[in-house]
Amino acid sequence: MNALTAHLPALQVIVPMLMAPFVVLLRARNLPWVAATATSLLAFSIAVRLTMIVTDGKPVSYRMGSWAPPYGIELQVDALSALVLLVVTGASSLALIGGRESLAKVISADREPYFFAAWLLALAGMAGIVVSADAFNIFVFMEISSLASYVLVAGGPDRRALPATFKYLIMGTIGATFYLIGVGLIYMMTGTLNLADMELRVHEVADQKPILAAAGFITVGLALKAAIFPLHVWLPNAYTYAPHVVTAFLAACATKVALYVLLRFDFFVFQQNLIGHEFQFAAYLMPLAILGILIGSAVAMFERNIKRMLAFSSVAQIGYMMLGASFVTATGLTAATLHMFNHALAKGGLFLAIAAIAIVTAGCRLSDIAGLARRMPWTFAALVVAGLSLIGVPGTAGFVSKWYLIDAALELETGGAALVALILVSSLMAVVYVWRIVEAACFGEPAERRAASVPPALAIVLWAAAIANLGFGIAPGLPLSLSATAADILLGHVQ
């Protein structure tokens, strides 16, 4: 490895973080957008390079300031982090490339520098959560990304974005503080903040009660951030009233990053080191996952605002990821991590399509898009492809992860058939709500018949997302091998 490659884990965070203050200084029209997009693409290329390094299963470790862990701060990238890094930086890049016109409609020119600086900080924070191997660093990065995303959500044109942001801020802060309490309790008992070191020392602690309490605090705190049912109440309004492109970015990665930390803690640190944790984790999260899948899909079926509909569908999809993880098997974890990737593709694509539609329409209600498929056929074709992937139709990315999820459910000794039925029923519910969009768009009567144009950059990224949904459905090699390695790494600590 040459000198620069060795520093990639740190650069992944530092590049967007240092670019943020520079972007604030750029006053010329469009320049902040150009700088933010270039930075995001650079971050994406770093993530791709890191992925190429870790595909053989060996994690990359980086010592901040050359201080050796556990006393120094360690950054670590393995297959699981690489997968999440790809999602975060990829979603940010696609949303930024396609989002200029859509954002220019809601963000005035003088506020642009601040907005894009906040975007880069959100990106830096999320990347930081993923690469960090230090529990307290994760907290700090989590708050950096959260504070920046509150700003992004509050940029929405509707005034209802403001109460939505306030709710997001209150619940996000409570979640982060719960996480901080948990980390404090573990530090109290083990004297370490490094995750790998924690794993060894939790094992040695004689009185495990504080650690068990810590596991509870950390799980609840991160469940709030990850919008796991029933702690999802901040999500629908925040997604609905945020600028469309921001929704595409956040829906693709914000909750997955919190889920990633949850998996890290539950499998690296607690599982098998903590008496009773298997029961606490799997038996406690599985019912929540099932309820989330059913209720999220059911509410989405009756929702009239498309963004809200898709936000509730996200609650259901997070349920799928939790369900896979709560099996505590290799197939289940592969399904969970693979679904993180595939859901980001599908939901990111859908929200990008909505950004394209919203350039033409007045709002995002089903009645607003009546007959719009005749005016913008290509946009709707891409929307349908992403929708099919969300449902899990064979040939799309969503199918692969659902297939693994069903496979994992069938491996269970009891209740497997019921869970398969649940997955099928909720997929049918997804058919219903995606169909409602298609029905309104294809068979409604349009207000005018003029063909509507979409900015070319947005059309390109939208189709890039749609083709990725098809491509990773037919040849899921890369995300699948990364998820399988990730599952091995997570379970490697279980034995």
């Binding site: 307290f136 504070l147 700003v151 801020l169 802060t173 409570i174 109290m188």
Partner: protein, 116 residues
């Protein structure tokens, strides 16, 4: 372990619950933020107390002290305080914008206006 001997944990738990209660029960958005600050301050207290060693001095070497308190939790909390201040500042900023748009800082009134 007697119950009074660990009174600082009681202070932490009670303060935490008061803050949490205020966040949930109060409808005024500013009061909610006050509750949130209290909630975070309680956690700062947890960290600070856990780093303290009875009879030990501040962790400055060379002044004849034998035992030192653990400085790491204090350093962590310095960072957490900064995070807490940023959150409160951003929250208050959003409340100002809400007041401009809705002319109210009462949650139920805002919900009522949005329903229309």
């Amino acid at each position: 372990m007697n119950i009074l001997g660990i009174y600082y944990y009681w202070v932490f738990a009670i303060l935490l619950m008061i803050g949490f209660y205020v966040v949930i029960a109060k409808l005024n958005l500013i009061k909610k933020l006050i509750g949130l600050s209290l909630f975070q301050a309680a956690v700062f207290l947890l960290y600070i107390t856990m780093g303290n060693v009875e009879g030990a001095s501040a962790p400055i070497y060379g002044f004849g002290a034998e035992t030192f308190s653990n400085p790491l939790p204090q350093v962590l909390i310095l960072t957490a305080i900064v995070v807490g201040i940023s959150t409160t500042a951003l929250g208050l900023g959003i409340v100002v914008r809400i007041k401009e748009e809705y002319d109210s800082v009462e949650e139920h009134e805002i919900q009522e206006m949005d329903r229309r």
